[in-house]
């Protein structure tokens, strides 16, 4: 029978390296995805994955067995990403200059029916990079991770209202940057 995450954590606590390896096998790719969305850079995301597992190993005694290991690990990875971004002062660098905006033709294909063109990818990536660290983090956690506003606030160390405004600012910035590339079509309400 396949070992559960909780059982693997319990064995890893007792020094069973193979059990910890199992956790790495199960979760490293998912952690990479969230790390990449947070940092916007593959190398940074790889570093975050390493650091997140290293911290998880060091703090494994603090993991409560009734909690979900994946959620706990995601939280660690998010904190690692924030630390990395803050350490590099990405915020300052990114606000140093504007990203060139290239107009796309009005008959650009609809985004939900295609893989994005290379040019459009650049625009989306640039728009994401224009967000401050807090805005990007709040947006990624709300939009991709589906984390509740209260929990995002705890992660960022800010109040609920400030968290909401951070998410609003992030979405507004994205809309302002990307609106020229979308056509108004029906979406589910």
């Amino acid at each position: 029978m396949e070992m559960t995450d909780v059982a693997a954590v319990s064995r890893a606590r007792d020094g069973d390296a193979e059990a910890f390896r199992l956790l790495v096998e199960r979760h490293s790719r998912a952690i990479f995805r969230v790390a990449w969305r947070m940092t916007g850079n593959e190398h940074d995301a790889d570093d975050v994955v390493q650091e997140a597992f290293l911290r998880a190993y060091r703090q494994i005694d603090a993991f409560e067995e009734r909690a979900n290991f994946s959620t706990w690990l995601h939280r660690i990875a998010i904190n690692c990403s924030l630390d990395l971004l803050r350490a590099r002062g990405r915020h300052d660098r990114q606000y140093g200059g504007d990203v060139d905006v290239v107009e796309l033709s009005s008959d650009a294909p609809e985004p939900d029916r295609l893989a994005l063109s290379a040019e459009l990818k650049e625009h989306v990536a640039a728009a994401m990079k224009r967000l401050s660290d807090n805005e990007r983090t709040a947006f990624v956690l709300r939009h991709f991770e589906g984390m509740p506003v209260e929990e995002i606030g705890k992660t960022l160390g800010i109040q609920v209202n400030a968290t909401k405004h951070t998410i609003f600012r992030a979405v507004r910035k994205l809309r302002d940057a990307l609106e020229p590339f979308v056509r108004s079509t029906q979406c589910n309400t």
Partner: protein, 251 residues
């Protein structure tokens, strides 16, 4: 009719609020909301770089190296602490040997004056047991790795070898001190451990099945792990007694 603002639309999108009724009847707001949806769909469509099936192995291989290095640093730190304690203890013994006979007699007298009082019994032996307790703890972990390995598979002893190297010198110093002080029990245990530590420190990177079996028999036959655990536990107890007696003296 009052239109929805950006915050209302965003809150609606993330299900933090429900603006469905208004959107059903207001074409302007619906158009705004649809634009927002299209923008967020663009963000969703940004592909995440793929990591192939070998990625977890790559992560693990890098991670394992870092974990081992971290463990090794911990052991080196422990060995360093043990060495400092050993030097301090041996220096203390040497200094005491050089004291005038009268002073030594006074010390001996004071030790034998109240033999029934554990707080004043052989304080230096208690220090020895306490210090050796830490050393035995470290040695026990090395020997436990050997004792618990599967004899059919042999054992990769790269890490244990380094730990054993660090422990051999400390073991020798403690054994000599114990012999000199006449503590036969500690001296005998350290004498039993030493050849195994020496053998491990000089073995190849991998113990063959035969070598491992032979070493395991030696550990088992003398019940070494059990004796080491008992002695370390006594060391911890002595530490508590020692602190208590120091506290009493200070009153």
């Amino acid at each position: 009719m009052q239109h929805l603002n950006d915050e209302d639309l965003i809150a609606h999108h993330y299900r933090d609020a429900d603006a469905s009724e208004h959107l059903d009847v207001c074409a302007d707001c619906r158009a705004q909301y649809e634009t927002l949806c299209r923008v967020l769909a663009l963000v969703d469509a940004l592909p995440v770089p793929e990591r192939d099936a070998a990625y977890p192995d790559q992560v693990w291989n890098r991670l394992r190296w870092r974990l081992e290095r971290r463990r090794r640093r911990t052991w080196q730190w422990l060995a360093g602490v043990a060495a400092v304690l050993a030097i301090a203890f041996v220096t203390g013994e040497w200094w005491k040997e050089r004291q005038p006979v009268d002073s030594r007699q006074q010390i001996a007298d004071s030790r034998t004056a109240t033999p029934s009082n554990p707080a004043t019994q052989q304080p230096n032996n208690r220090v020895l047991v306490y210090v050796v307790g830490d050393h035995l703890d470290a040695a026990e972990r090395v020997l436990a790795e050997v004792a618990n390995a599967d004899p059919k598979k042999g054992l990769d002893v790269g890490e244990e070898q380094k730990r054993a190297e660090d422990l051999v010198d400390a073991n020798r110093i403690y054994r000599q001190t114990a012999v000199r002080r006449g503590d036969k029990r500690i001296a005998a245990l350290l004498s039993d451990i030493e050849p195994i530590l020496v053998e491990l420190s000089h073995s190849g990177a991998k113990l063959s099945s035969d070598e491992l079996t032979s070493m395991q028999k030696r550990i088992d036959s003398k019940n070494l792990l059990f004796k080491m655990r008992v002695m370390s536990a006594q060391g911890e107890g002595q530490h508590d007694n020692l602190l208590a007696s120091q506290h009493l003296k200070s009153l």
